[in-house]
Symmetry: C2
């Protein structure tokens, strides 16, 4: 409880004048549900509110700004760095009520959505129109479009298509002062003044609340070809990525799953994956002729670098199984470790992948932490996964020490401390090491432009 | 002359202590060369300086900031909205001396360049490595990468690949205070704090001087297929774009050239293009099989909507001629109108293209201005071209009135006043109509964060 009881009672009353009273959640049990996301952190909000219109959000934000109460916007709470944790209490704004798909326009190649739309729901709806939105975070089953935008989510297809920031054309945003602005445009191209759209994409809810988004969409490719390859050493799998690029091919996805994940997936889902050090999954999309041709070339490269069991998925079930394997990597590992997990996120230049894998294993071993690795390897994006029981501070402490040491190592390799999970709380102390003091000062000053009273998701990104 | 003579002499002396004295240009003739870009505007700088290192730029900027002297960074001066015009005099910083390609890395799919590299030079160098950088502004022959980034240049291939902002991974920037920051990363994915990279992309030199850029590059596609189609009415050509998308195909480029351009090109280059209301040029890239297959589908659509003379370029010469036609549209029209041109830039949702063409013709007729149209039609991006003799204020005035009326009309169609040419001076008075007061206030406040003394390219974007 961060707010004084008397003030809180007043605020709750006022919130109930803005939204219907059933959308103001105050009980311990209800608030507890909003005290965690998928990160290591925990903090209780004083009150949770579920708006359904931009106008309601304007009123909520004006109230909070006047009373200087922290606001934490929240989508599905799948954040892995603490972005949805109300570290200073106050109001959590649950955006899942604003979940309408407002327009899908195949002629203009755009979709207009509210932020609470679940990623997969949009994907399904777009597919009915023969379209897709390229970003595909692993949490697609539950995460919201607003959350994906706020975090600049990536995913597997980022290799071919880029991340969320490349697929958002415009936004409507309620600023921390209660003003509503629109950014970008409903058009495929636009450069009118500063790129506020992409300033909001990846700003982790610290600059305002997104209430509408114009997305750039694409026709679904005619064909998708999926293949897998096994490697005796994960470093060699990393090397294979470079070799594929050097041949002039950039597949849609190149994923790597480490032996710990493979075993966990086999144990749970009985998929019979080869239990070697690393499994690679590659997708190629395009016309039927194109994917066939590229697949042949990729197979040759994989063979040349020493991959074994190179297989194309030839049936729908084989396709689905490989996809499932990749998607189930987290829950399977969770099950195998018999503990909750922390999923880290780094990016290195692609030619540093083998070194990054080696480093992650060395440092995990040093800290006596079992580790599994999933990598969006095509992007040089690796996710070390460590088990951690968040009830025990000493376990959290050990994971954080390992995480910090690996972060230093990744930066030394010329990498970045965050590819697609953001900074949140987890990486706030590291961002200055990547960018230096001045860049962070600039970010802080920009934060103050939007949010003079520091009410919007305070305590994140070292702001 | 904006600066007092005595102060100017001191500044020139100090600049000569920073760069070699031959890189400080002070004569009227030399400065005159820097008083124009490709827009309607004109203003003389007090002095021009040509730095060759980041350190020199730091010193220049510190001097200017201390003395509160305006700085206008300049690439090749191809800007069409006045971005490179030193409207308040002061120092023009000519960036063309910093023109080294620092790294091309086929394994990591990146290139690192200095900002003065000419766009086409980079293209040629990348091609030697089997790579390309997708943005392709029409000024590729002369424009610099730094200028393309500062303006968020687009071009023809933006339809398939997006604009400059989608292909810049990181920057080194000298801020107006003389501090040097780096943004983004050397990696393909990155989300660490606010997206300062894309805040600089398209900021038109108002936030700092870009001194290095990390670009995301791609392997050159195996095949490129080019085709053309003629239309009796430009509105029907606009409609054809929608039809192509609805069939699930997004070509690499879809260009439209109006009859006025076609005639001008034929007259000059004797290409024998069909002299109908509009000519469409379409590129498809990918594997040989893919482009063949898509070309067949596109031809069918074009026929269905009533295009005539649908032709594939089958020889290298035919390919080159069509490309030349598109590239030569400006100079040919220039030659035909026997006057300098102003090239405007709007974007509309693709299904509004026919209306936008009609509107542009109506309004030009009303103002008795001959007009040619070039359109990156796939993006809904149209460029009306009007002749204007910039020596006569009444001619400029008439063009500006026509431009303003068309801008209002484009906004009413749900379009945007700038797709790829920026705001500069030309569109500064219109930006508030597109975004409202608050968004512009936010941009101004961001400008102050970076540039408290308003020295960096002042008088642009209504800041």
């Amino acid at each position: 409880m961060f707010m004084k009881q008397r003030k809180l009672v007043q605020i709750i009353e006022k919130l109930k004048n803005i939204v219907r009273s059933e959308h103001v959640l105050t009980s311990y049990e209800e608030r507890y549900c909003y005290s965690r996301d998928a990160s290591l952190y925990w903090a209780m909000p004083d009150v949770v509110v579920r708006p359904h219109t931009t106008e309601e959000i304007v009123e909520i934000v004006k109230l909070a700004n006047k009373e200087k109460i922290p606001i934490t916007p929240r989508g599905a709470g799948t954040n892995l760095t603490g972005g949805a944790i109300p570290v200073k209490g106050g109001i959590v704004v649950d955006m899942t009520g604003m979940n309408r798909i407002l327009e899908i326009n195949r002629t203009n190649l755009i979709a207009v959505v509210e932020p609470g739309v679940v990623h997969e729901d949009l994907e399904k709806e777009l597919a009915k129109h023969g379209l897709f939105w390229p970003p595909d975070p692993a949490s697609t089953y539950s995460c919201t479009i607003g959350g994906a935008i706020a975090e600049c989510a990536g995913g597997m297809r980022a290799l071919k298509y880029g991340t969320t920031r490349d697929w958002v054309l415009g936004l409507e945003v309620v600023l921390p002062t209660g003003d509503v602005i629109k950014t970008g445009a409903m058009t495929l191209k636009n450069v009118t003044g500063f790129d506020l759209t992409r300033l909001f994409v990846g700003s982790e809810g610290t600059l305002g609340i997104i209430t509408k988004a114009v997305l750039k969409v694409r026709p679904l490719p005619e064909a998708l070809l999926r293949m897998s390859a096994a490697f005796y050493e994960i470093e060699i799998a990393g090397l294979a990525v470079s070799k594929i690029f050097e041949t002039g091919i950039v597949p849609t996805i190149i994923e790597i799953i480490s032996i710990e994940c493979i075993r966990a997936i086999n144990e749970w889902l009985k998929l019979g994956l080869p239990e070697v050090d690393a499994l690679m999954v590659i997708d190629l999309d395009g016309t039927r002729e194109e994917v066939e041709k590229l697949a042949g070339k990729v197979e040759k490269i994989l063979k040349d670098v020493g991959a074994i069991e190179i297989k194309r998925a030839t049936t729908a079930k084989e396709m689905e199984d490989l996809y499932l394997a990749r998607r189930a990597a987290y829950p399977s590992t969770f099950r195998a470790f018999r503990k909750s997990l922390t999923v880290d996120d780094f990016c290195v230049p692609v030619n540093k992948l083998p070194e990054a894998f080696r480093l992650a294993r060395e440092i995990s071993k040093k800290w006596r932490l079992p580790m599994a690795i999933i990598a969006h390897a095509g992007d040089g994006n690796i996710h070390p996964i460590w088990p951690v029981d968040v009830r025990y501070p000493e376990e959290i402490d050990r994971v954080l020490k390992c995480h910090t040491e690996l972060s230093h190592g990744i930066l030394k390799l010329g990498g970045s401390i965050s590819a697609e999970h953001g900074i949140g709380i987890l990486k706030a102390s590291l961002i200055e090491e990547e960018y230096g003091k001045k860049a962070i000062e600039v970010m802080r000053a920009i934060k103050r432009v939007f949010d003079p009273n520091d009410i919007m998701n305070p305590g994140k990104i070292a702001l």
